[in-house]
C-alpha cells in the first residue's frame, strides 16, 4: 500500500469505530461530526448498493470486452491466447493501481473488479501457457500455476490491501504444498509455522488495518488447514493426499489416533484460546470447527438415532446460549473476564437483516401447484422455516 492509502485506511478505521459508537448512542451527532472532522476521508468510496453494482458491471464489461476481442480476431494459437490473457490481466492490474493510487478509490467496487478480473486473467493465461504450450506435465504445470498465481495474488494483496485477494493467495499456497511429497505433513508444518507469525503480524500496530484484515483471513485459513490435516474424515478419505494423483486414505495408518485426538481437541483449544484472549477469529472458528467435529462424531459413532441427536443438539445449543448469556450478565458490569453478551457497538440492523433474509430464504417449501396431488402424505410435503425443515 502507498503511504497515502495506508493513512486513509487508518483514518477510515477510526471513523467506522465512531459510527459504531453513534449507532449505540454512546456519542451524539456533534461528537461524531467532530471526529469526522479530525479524521477526514480523502478517498472516493461508494455505499454497499452502488459498490456491488459497480463491481458487477465492471466485471461484466471487462469480460465482455475480452470476449469481443477474441471473437473478432479469433486467435488459434494457444500461446497467443495465453499471452493476450496475461497482457490483459496485467493491464487491469495497472488500472487497479491507478484507481487506488492517483484516483484515490477505496471500497468503490470498480477497483476490486479490475483487480480480481485482472488476476484471474493472469492466472488463466499462465495456466494455459504451462499446460498447453510448455507441456510441463500435469504435476509440474499445476505446481507452477499455484506458485505463480499465489505470488501474483500475494503481491496484489500487499499492494492494494484486499483481504479477498489475500485469502486466494493463501489457498494457492496450500494447494501448492498439496502437490509436494507428504502433503499432509507439509500442511501441518506450514500451518504451525505460519499461525504464530500471522497472529503477531495481524496485531502489529504499524501494519495498516486492511493488511491486518488480510493477515487475519490468512490466519483463519491456516487454522482451518491445520484442522483439516487432523480431521478424522479427511484422514480416512485421504483428502489432502488426493490433491496428488494416486493419493489414498490413511485408514490403516498407525497415526490415526492422532487424528481422533486432533478432531476432538483442536476445536475446544481454539475456542478456549479465543475466549481467554478475547480474539473473535479464534472463538468463532473454534465454534464452527466444533460443529464439524460433532457432525464427524455422529458419522463415526451412532450413539442414538439421528432425530434424538439433532433434537438434543438443538436443545443443548439453545440452553447453552441462554446459560452463557446469564453467566456473562451475572458478572460485574455485565461481563466476565472481558467478555460481554451486550452488543456494544455492533450494527444491530445488519444482524436483523441477515436473520430476516435467512428466514425468507429458508421459508417453508411451497405447496405443489396441482392441488389434486396430496403430497403432504407421510414422506411427502414438509414444513419448516428459518432454515429448519421437517419431512413427513
Amino acid at each position: 500500500m502507498t503511504p497515502a492509502a495506508a493513512e486513509a485506511d487508518r483514518r477510515h478505521e477510526v471513523r467506522e469505530a465512531a459510527r459504531g459508537w453513534r449507532r449505540a448512542s454512546a456519542i451524539d451527532d456533534a461528537t461524531l461530526a467532530a471526529i469526522v472532522r479530525v479524521y477526514p476521508d480523502d478517498r472516493v468510496r461508494l455505499g454497499p448498493g452502488f459498490r456491488s453494482l459497480a463491481f458487477i458491471f465492471t466485471g461484466l464489461a471487462l469480460n465482455a470486452f475480452f470476449f469481443f476481442v477474441m471473437a473478432v480476431f479469433r486467435p488459434r494459437d494457444e500461446a497467443l491466447i495465453g499471452a493476450l490473457a496475461i497482457a490483459f490481466g496485467l493491464f487491469l492490474c495497472v488500472l487497479t493501481d491507478v484507481q487506488v493510487g492517483a484516483f484515490k478509490r477505496a471500497e468503490g467496487g470498480t477497483e476490486s473488479a479490475t483487480a480480481l478480473v485482472g488476476l484471474a486473467y493472469v492466472t488463466g493465461g499462465i495456466a494455459l501457457l504451462l499446460f498447453e504450450v510448455a507441456r510441463l506435465g500435469e504435476r509440474a504445470a499445476l505446481s507452477w500455476t499455484f506458485a505463480l498465481a499465489g505470488a501474483a495474488l500475494a503481491t496484489a494483496a500487499w499492494r492494494w490491501g484486499m483481504p479477498a485477494v489475500a485469502a486466494l493467495a493463501g489457498v494457492c499456497f496450500f494447494l501448492l504444498l498439496g502437490q509436494g511429497p507428504l502433503p499432509r505433513l507439509l500442511w501441518i508444518v506450514a500451518a504451525l509455522v505460519s499461525i504464530p507469525a500471522l497472529l503477531a503480524a495481524s496485531e502489529h500496530p504499524r501494519v495498516p488495518p486492511s493488511h491486518r484484515r488480510s493477515l487475519l483471513v490468512t490466519l483463519g485459513l491456516a487454522l482451518a488447514a491445520l484442522y483439516v490435516c487432523f480431521h478424522l474424515g479427511s484422514w480416512d478419505a485421504g483428502l489432502v493426499e488426493s490433491m496428488r494423483r494416486g493419493g489414498h486414505g490413511l485408514h490403516e495408518s498407525a497415526w490415526r489416533p492422532a487424528a481422533i485426538l486432533g478432531t476432538a481437541l483442536i476445536p475446544p483449544v481454539v475456542a478456549a484460546f479465543g475466549a481467554l484472549t478475547r480474539r473473535r477469529l479464534f472463538l468463532d472458528l473454534g465454534l464452527a470447527l466444533g460443529v464439524a467435529s460433532l457432525v464427524t462424531l455422529r458419522f463415526y459413532v451412532h450413539v442414538a438415532p439421528l432425530w434424538v441427536v439433532m433434537t438434543l443438539s438443538g436443545g443443548a445449543a439453545i440452553a447453552a446460549a441462554l446459560a452463557l448469556r446469564r453467566f456473562l450478565a451475572s458478572g460485574a458490569g455485565g461481563e466476565q473476564r472481558g467478555l460481554t453478551a451486550d452488543p456494544l457497538f455492533e450494527d444491530p440492523a445488519r444482524h436483523r437483516s441477515l436473520e430476516v433474509a435467512a428466514v425468507l430464504v429458508a421459508g417453508p417449501a411451497a405447496r405443489a401447484p396441482a392441488t389434486a396431488d396430496r403430497s403432504l402424505e407421510p414422506g411427502g410435503g414438509r414444513f419448516g422455516g428459518g432454515g429448519a425443515s421437517g419431512e413427513y
Partner: protein
C-alpha cells in the same frame, strides 16, 4: 488490538471531544480488553432452533407409527405451548410502534413456537386430513398465526416467516423458486401469476404499514419480499415470452430503481437496476446477434450503466 482506534480515543479524550467515561469504554474495546459475544450467542440460538426443528421433523417421520399420532401431535403442541407461554410472560405490552425486545432470546423462542405450531398443524393435516382436498390451507392458517404473533410481539423475523409461508400457500417459495417456475408450461404460468399476485399483495401491505403508521418498521421486509417475487416472476418469463415479460420487467425494474433512488434505498435500487438490465439484454439477445455483437453489447452497455451509476452517485449526498 486496534491501534488506530486506541490512539484516536486517547487523542480525542485529550482534545475533550470524548468524556473520560466514553474514552475508558472505547479504549477497552479497542485494546481488546472487552469483547462482545452477542452475535455468537444469537447464532447459537438460531442454529439450535434450526437443528432442533430438523430433529423434530425426523422424529415425526421416523417414529410415525411407533410413537402414535396423538403422542406426536400432543408433544409438538405441548412444546409450542411452552414456548408461547414463555413469550407471553416475557412480552411487552402491545404497541403499534417498534418496541425494544424484552429478552435477547425473545424473538427466537417466538420463532420456535411458530415453527412448532406449523409442524404440528402440518402433521395433523397429513395424518387426520381435517381439511381434505383443501389441505394447502394449513399453510395459510400458519401464515396468519405467524402474522398475528409477529404484530403482537413485534417480531420482524416472525413477520418474514409469515410472508414466506403465505407465498408457500400460493405455491411460491420466495427465493428457492420451484423448477417448474422456469418452464413454459401451464403450471409455470399459474405459478408466475401467483408470484406476481403475492408480490403485489406484499407491496400493498408495505404501503399500508407506512401510510397507517402501524408497525411501519416491518415495511422493509414486505417491500423487499414483494419486489423479489414480482421481479423474479417477470424474469422467469423471459425465456418463454421475451417481449412481453422483457418490457414488463424493464418497466418494473426501472420503476423500482427510480423509486428507490429517490428514497435512498440502495438495496432496492440494486434489485431494480439488475432487473431492468436483464430485461434490456434479454430483449436485445432475442434478435440472436452474432457472438461479437453480443459481447460488444455487454461491454458497451455495462460501461454505460457504470458511468450512469458514478454520475448519479456524485450527485447524491457524499458519505
Amino acid at each position: 488490538m486496534n491501534a488506530e482506534v486506541a490512539a484516536a480515543v486517547a487523542r480525542l479524550h485529550r482534545d475533550r471531544v470524548l468524556s473520560a467515561d466514553q474514552a475508558a469504554l472505547f479504549s477497552r474495546v479497542a485494546r481488546r480488553e472487552l469483547l462482545s459475544v452477542s452475535a455468537e450467542l444469537r447464532i447459537l440460538l438460531y442454529g439450535g432452533i434450526v437443528v432442533g426443528m430438523a430433529g423434530v421433523g425426523l422424529l415425526v417421520q421416523q417414529n410415525f407409527e411407533r410413537v402414535g399420532p396423538l403422542a406426536v401431535a400432543g408433544a409438538l403442541a405441548v412444546a409450542a405451548a411452552g414456548c408461547l407461554l414463555w413469550v407471553h410472560r416475557h412480552g411487552s405490552p402491545f404497541r403499534w410502534r417498534e418496541s425494544p425486545s424484552p429478552h435477547f432470546a425473545f424473538e427466537y423462542l417466538l420463532l420456535l413456537a411458530v415453527l412448532l405450531v406449523g409442524a404440528d398443524l402440518a402433521y395433523v393435516e397429513a395424518k387426520f386430513t381435517p381439511l381434505g382436498g383443501a389441505w394447502p390451507w394449513h399453510l395459510f392458517l400458519v401464515s396468519m398465526l405467524a402474522a398475528v404473533l409477529a404484530v403482537r410481539y413485534d417480531s420482524a423475523i416472525v413477520f418474514s416467516l409469515a410472508l414466506s409461508t403465505f407465498a408457500a400457500w400460493r405455491g411460491v417459495s420466495v427465493v428457492v423458486l420451484e423448477k417448474s417456475f422456469w418452464s413454459g408450461g401451464d403450471a409455470a404460468s399459474s405459478l408466475r401469476v401467483n408470484a406476481i399476485g403475492c408480490g403485489a399483495a406484499f407491496l400493498l401491505l408495505a404501503a399500508m404499514l407506512v401510510r397507517l403508521d402501524r408497525k411501519a418498521h416491518f415495511e422493509p421486509v414486505a417491500i423487499h419480499a414483494g419486489w423479489i417475487l414480482v421481479l423474479g416472476a417477470l424474469a422467469s418469463g423471459l425465456g418463454h415470452e421475451p417481449v412481453l415479460f422483457g418490457v414488463l420487467l424493464l418497466a418494473a425494474g426501472g420503476g423500482v430503481a427510480a423509486f428507490a433512488l429517490g428514497r435512498a434505498r440502495f438495496s432496492l435500487f440494486t434489485l431494480g437496476v439488475l432487473g431492468a438490465y436483464a430485461a434490456l439484454s434479454a430483449l436485445f439477445l432475442r434478435a440472436r446477434p452474432p457472438f461479437e455483437i453480443a459481447s460488444l453489447w455487454f461491454a458497451v452497455t455495462s460501461l454505460a450503466v457504470l458511468g450512469a451509476l458514478l454520475v448519479v452517485h456524485r450527485r447524491l449526498k457524499p458519505e
